[in-house]
């Protein structure tokens, strides 16, 4: 994976393990994501893709292994208040976009965006709203600012969710199947926004089933199966010369129809 010499990578995962009861979801994951790199994680459902993403944002706690963000450890053996402070500070540097959008239905679009800058970064209302308006323009829906989430289409909601994460000026963006809950005609508008983000140099990890997007935009495609990263290659190589049988099988199924 590409890594500018002399600079620490943005994300480093070493030996990450996680089990839910008897089910081992992550069985020793190693992954390095450099600054500005875009990694697409693909693989069959239940392979641990989402869990890995959630662990990076500390929504899941690892059983073993370590994760570093910009050289700082994400998973520290902290408890209580100290843990809370550490995790909050960390999450402010990581933007996350969920499959189900998870917009706050009781707040207007503008307030959805302004909430975290106000509460977590201490901006006043005016500054926060100005910031929110800027990012709404970036996802091309400034005119929806006063509406409530339920009044928007799925594609618009997901773009609001992306803008909401960007408002915290994160160092890295995590996307957890951002287009899986969308109607086909809305997928493109969300992917377009993500492509623009990539062109601006944002570091991104995207769990997705959109092979077209992965091929066009990603620097690296990581194929996960049964809690392991089986292959991690640049798209051109991955789609033509995947070495493992499982990756080939997955590709033939997905590209077959």
């Amino acid at each position: 994976m590409s890594d500018a010499p002399g600079r620490t990578p943005m994300i480093e995962v070493r030996g990450a393990r996680k089990a839910f009861g008897a089910a081992e979801v992550l069985r020793g994951i190693d992954l390095t994501v450099g600054r500005g790199e875009i990694v697409a994680i693909i693989g069959p459902s239940g392979s641990g893709k989402s869990t890995l993403l959630r662990a990076i944002n500390h929504l899941e706690t690892l059983d073993a292994g370590e994760i570093r963000l910009d050289g700082r450890r994400v998973n520290l053996p902290l408890r209580g208040r100290a843990f809370e402070r550490h995790v909050n500070a960390l999450r402010r540097q990581i933007g996350m976009v969920f499959q189900q959008f998870n917009l706050f239905p009781h707040l207007s679009v503008l307030d959805n965006l302004a909430l975290a800058p106000m509460r977590a970064r201490g901006l006043d209302r005016q500054e926060a709203r100005a910031l929110a308006t800027t990012y709404l323009e970036r996802v091309h829906i400034p005119e929806q600012a006063q509406k409530y989430p339920a009044q928007l289409s799925g594609g618009q909601q997901q773009r609001v969710a992306i803008a909401r994460a960007l408002c915290m000026r994160p160092k890295i963006m995590l996307f957890d199947e951002p287009t899986s809950a969308l109607d086909p005609e809305m997928i493109k508008e969300v992917l377009d926004v993500m492509v623009e983000l990539a062109e601006d140099g944002m570091t991104m990890i995207v769990v997705t089933h959109e092979m077209g997007f992965a091929r066009e935009v990603a620097d690296t495609i990581a194929f996960m199966d049964h809690g392991r990263i089986v292959e991690a290659l640049p798209p051109a190589q991955f789609f033509t010369a995947a070495r493992t049988e499982r990756a080939q099988l997955f590709l033939s199924r997905i590209l077959g129809h």
Partner: protein, 218 residues
């Protein structure tokens, strides 16, 4: 014996005062029951374990025994312990805590019914646990549970009549005073019922407004 509602005219001052105190009691106890209800719900959901157990027990006591009895205990029982609280405070405390237990149950269910994604989204934006609760979870839980909470508040209005037994001159007590002087129970109770009905309508109108506003933000 025919009906003669003109006797009420002489007592309109007393009845109006009774209605006033019923309204004051209801509003104060409603505020207390909501505030305490939220605290109890939070203690049960996120509080330390040593706190959750006695809180749950106390809430169960308040729901499992008659309100009348709780009023007796707070007013007469605490006096026996040497804690003398004014009768009005005892009334507000009794009503407020009784309904706080019910409200807590409703609010807890409301918080539990929210999708996990809401809390995760708030936390992934870097909001603290408290901030997520205050700005994201609670507003939604209260909005979703507005109808049953409103139902509790209307029940509170009616059960505020019970504080007459510890000697607060609210509506029923005022009516009883009129009756003891005129021996006209029928007229006075009808009048009291009518006032309750009006207070009830006012409250439902107010609740309806709140619910419609909550509904609009869906």
């Amino acid at each position: 014996m025919g009906l003669d509602f003109t006797v009420l005219a002489d007592y309109r001052g007393v009845l109006a005062l009774g209605a006033w105190w019923t309204a004051v009691l209801t509003l104060a106890a409603a505020a207390l029951s909501l505030g305490a209800g939220i605290l109890v719900a939070l203690a049960l959901l996120h509080g330390p374990r040593w706190l959750a157990l006695p809180v749950r027990g106390l809430a169960g006591l308040f729901m499992g025994t008659p309100l009348l009895l709780q009023l007796f205990l707070i007013y007469f029982g605490l006096a026996q312990l040497g804690i003398d609280i004014p009768v009005l405070a005892a009334g507000i405390l009794g009503l407020g805590l009784h309904f706080a237990a019910y409200n807590a149950e409703v609010i807890r269910a409301g918080i539990g019914a929210l999708e996990a994604g809401q809390a995760e989204a708030a936390r992934s934006l870097g909001l603290s646990r408290m901030q997520a609760m205050r700005h994201v979870i609670l507003p939604q839980a209260l909005r979703d549970t507005a109808p049953p909470l409103g139902g509790n508040m209307i029940a509170l209005l009616k059960e505020s009549s019970l504080v007459s037994v510890i000697g607060i001159t609210e509506l029923v007590h005022a009516a009883q005073r009129g009756i003891s002087e005129t021996y006209r129970p029928f007229e006075f109770y009808i009048a009291a019922a009518a006032v309750y009905y009006v207070l009830n309508l006012l409250m439902e109108a107010a609740l309806g407004r709140i619910e419609r506003r909550a509904e609009a933000s869906r």
